[in-house]
Amino acid sequence: MRRFAELLERLAFTPARNGKLRLLTDYLAAAPDPDRGWGIAAITRDLTLDAVKPAMLRALTEARVDPELLALSHDFVGDLAETIALIWPPTPGPVADPPLAEVIDRLRGASRREAPQVVERLLDRLDASGRFALLKLVTGGLRVGVSARLAKQALADFGGRDVTEIEELWHGLAPPYLGLFAWLAGTGPKPMPRAAAPFRPVMLAHALDVADLAKLDPADFLAEWKWDGIRVQAVSDAGGRRLYSRTGDDISGAFPDLVDALAFDATLDGELLVRRPDGSIATFSDLQQRLNRKTVTAAQLARYPAHLRAYDLLQAGARDLLAEPFAARRAALEALGATLDPGRFDLSPLLPVASWDDLAALRAAPPDPVIEGVMLKRRDSPYVPGRPKGLWFKWKRDPHTVDAVLMYAQRGHGKRSGFYSDYTFGVWTEDGALTPVGKAYFGFTDAELAEIDRWVRSNTTERFGPVRAVRAEPDHGLVLEVAFEGLARSARHRSGLAMRFPRIARLRWDKPPSEADTLETLEALLPEG
């Protein structure tokens, strides 16, 4: 338990992806089976133990600690689980370091009624960081900034394998993944992917370098729109029906409407979108209402019905199409597509492209807001997991840009230590004030970073820990040209807007802040509805 608690603690404070990966691989190397498997399951949330409610934990603690002291402490610390972990009075006897597996076993074995008592006994045996880990486990709030994707990458790194291999296997596995670890350690056979409705690792595109177009022959390629939804794989066979994310996470639970409609024996690759009540395809911000949920309500199903726009076919009945050329897979997809429920499925249409000029023209004027660019796929490309070179290309549309004013700068980490490298920027409101509309921390060179840093230091108006407010007045301030992919309404932001993928496109030292854009300009970019 101590090792797992330490891992959680380090992960929570380590911002960099590579740092997190090293912490995870070191943990996998150091922790024994079955603890490490349970540790990974807790982090990827394949294991959830909503065993105890916070109110119950508070009651357990108030039986040990004066409620007034608990309240004063909670005020100071902020987080209830952390407060309890720290305040839980030491009991006589040595601190124990029970294996994580034993702790999880007890919690899983306990009934609702027994759970508080089991938790109480564990709290008595663990040290403060163990108690913190325990409380986060039982309240289901681990939040250490590790995605399932990153955990799979760590497993791949640990075993010296490609991450697509892990993704392919993942759904046949259950914690504590003993077979997986045996294989990764070289002491066991490779686990078989799940027999029923298995996931097949997806094929990804490279970003197109426009300069390379001249070397490519349009006749070798098929072109499609690039849709702004999420990439999914829909699998249906005699063993079951499943919807997977592009990294192999099973997201069937969030999309029962679509899963119910998988009335075929095939594996489709496509874009998950949602429809509006009038049947048209809705934008990404509507789709987000259905993402990252374990379950879904009837109201959500009715309001944002799920839709699959298919663009590839990996398997149909007994026919495995992975090795076949894309053109052949496309033909088979079109045959299958004709039999599917048009209310749930359609095919991503092929674009008439005789020359690269045709493609550029289509890309410049897409007919639908749910399009974020174009895709090029070689007619002869087999379906290769990962990101093979030279087969598929994506060419995104030019980003939106806005001239915004730098308002706050935050110090960076690691290689950016000592530099103000994270920028909050704003635009003008009707009443002449700036309202923050986003945050960007890349898109500039090291030399530009040094310049901005110098400017921030000599134009600071206020400091809040690692953050500085800077001068942002109509005639004095720094204007940033910010590029972004899209805009959505957001109740969580003061401006009511959330930018997708904002980054610094240019520093506008030449431009006075008074000439920066207004909130009205941004609002005009919002999708309707």
Binding site: D26, H413, G418, P466
Partner: protein, 349 residues
């Protein structure tokens, strides 16, 4: 002879005569001196040399030899009109009162001050801790009618983990990230030297680089017999950032916010402070490696010390007075907050 009507709480009456809180600090009318005044006064008794307790400009200062030395290093030789060295345990008469200095275990030279008159004694502990620290003399329990305790970490959530374990955490990270410079923010007086001693105890024999702001105090500790090992300057020539990969560098956290830190290879920033116990505090400061190492008594030490000394009354000053006073009342002890102003929780920069 002072004749007064009998009062139901004679000790409290007596106490108020012996030490009273004033805007400048705690004042002793019969002795005409202040303890750790935060403004210049005619006569000051200084418990330790941290800047919120030891300022320049007093007429006369009475303190331990180390505290006087460190004040001279930090504030300049003429920091006071006159100085007088207090010897551990020795009684000194000041006006109508007597005082004595006793080790507080906080930093080198730190002392508690016992003030006595007519057999009635108040012990002002200043900042103190009970956990072992090889860089300074350990806290000496001194019984008195009234015990004045600090309450910097006066909440039951503060139970500092083993400081050696925290030092090992740093060494573990060094082994895990050997390409990164490990920069640890420390307070120049006390924390720096204690962390170095802990790292030595944890088996780190190699160089520990120090920022210029720590140099003189580290040298002073060494001159007082505190062996800290090899402490080269954290200065680099051009383009030699890699020299510090996998090395420990100590500096004031204020330096980490500025250009100084850019000379190091992919810095991993740590901070050694009791406040690192609280995650929000560590996150707020952008710390990647929080090390919970404190030179102040934690909750267990505060409460155990009060129980051990068993004073008639406890006065609680700077920090979380409310919680410690609450604990005293639950334990059936008389206690009150002093509400002195001007002392920092624990200097963070």
């Amino acid at each position: 002879m002072d004749v007064r009507p009998a009062r139901p709480k004679p000790n409290v009456m007596h106490a108020a005569d012996l030490l009273v809180p004033r805007p400048e600090g705690l004042y002793c009318p019969p002795g005409d001196f202040f303890i750790d005044p935060t403004r210049p006064v005619a006569r000051a008794l200084v418990t330790h040399a941290h800047s919120d307790h030891a300022i320049a400009g007093h007429g006369a200062v009475l303190a331990t030899r180390e505290t006087l030395d460190i004040m001279a290093i930090r504030l300049g030789a003429g920091f006071a009109g006159t100085t007088q060295t207090a010897v551990r345990g020795e009684t000194i008469g000041l006006g109508g009162a007597t005082v004595s200095f006793h080790p507080a275990g906080h930093v080198l030279g730190s002392a508690q001050v016992a003030v006595e008159k007519d057999g009635f004694r108040i012990v002002a502990a200043g900042d103190y801790k009970r956990s072992p620290d090889p860089t300074c003399a350990g806290f000496e329990p001194v019984r008195g009618d009234i015990f004045i305790t600090e309450a910097t970490f006066g909440l039951p959530v503060f139970r500092h983990p083993s400081p050696l374990g925290e030092a090992q955490k740093l060494l573990h990270s060094l082994a895990q990230f050997p390409e990164r410079s490990h920069l640890v923010g420390v307070y120049a007086l006390g924390k720096a030297q204690r962390l170095i001693a802990l790292l030595r105890a944890a088996g780190h024999a190699g160089p520990i680089y120090v920022h210029g702001a720590l140099r003189r105090l580290c040298d002073y500790y060494a001159s007082r017999g505190v062996d800290l090992g090899e402490l080269p300057d954290a200065t680099v020539g051009r383009g030699r950032a890699r020299d510090f990969a996998g090395q420990i560098v100590l500096g004031p956290t204020s330096a980490f916010a500025g250009p100084w830190v850019r000379r190091f290879a992919d810095p991993l920033i740590g901070f050694a402070s009791g406040w690192m116990q609280v995650r929000a505090r560590a996150r707020q400061r952008g710390v990647e490696l929080p090390l919970v190492i404190s030179d102040h008594a934690d909750w267990s030490e505060l409460t155990a010390t009060i129980d051990e000394l068993d004073p008639t009354e406890v006065w609680v000053t700077h920090g979380r007075e409310e919680a410690l006073v609450r604990w005293c009342s639950l334990a059936g002890r008389r206690a009150r907050p002093l509400h002195l102003v001007g002392y920092e929780d624990e200097a963070e920069d």
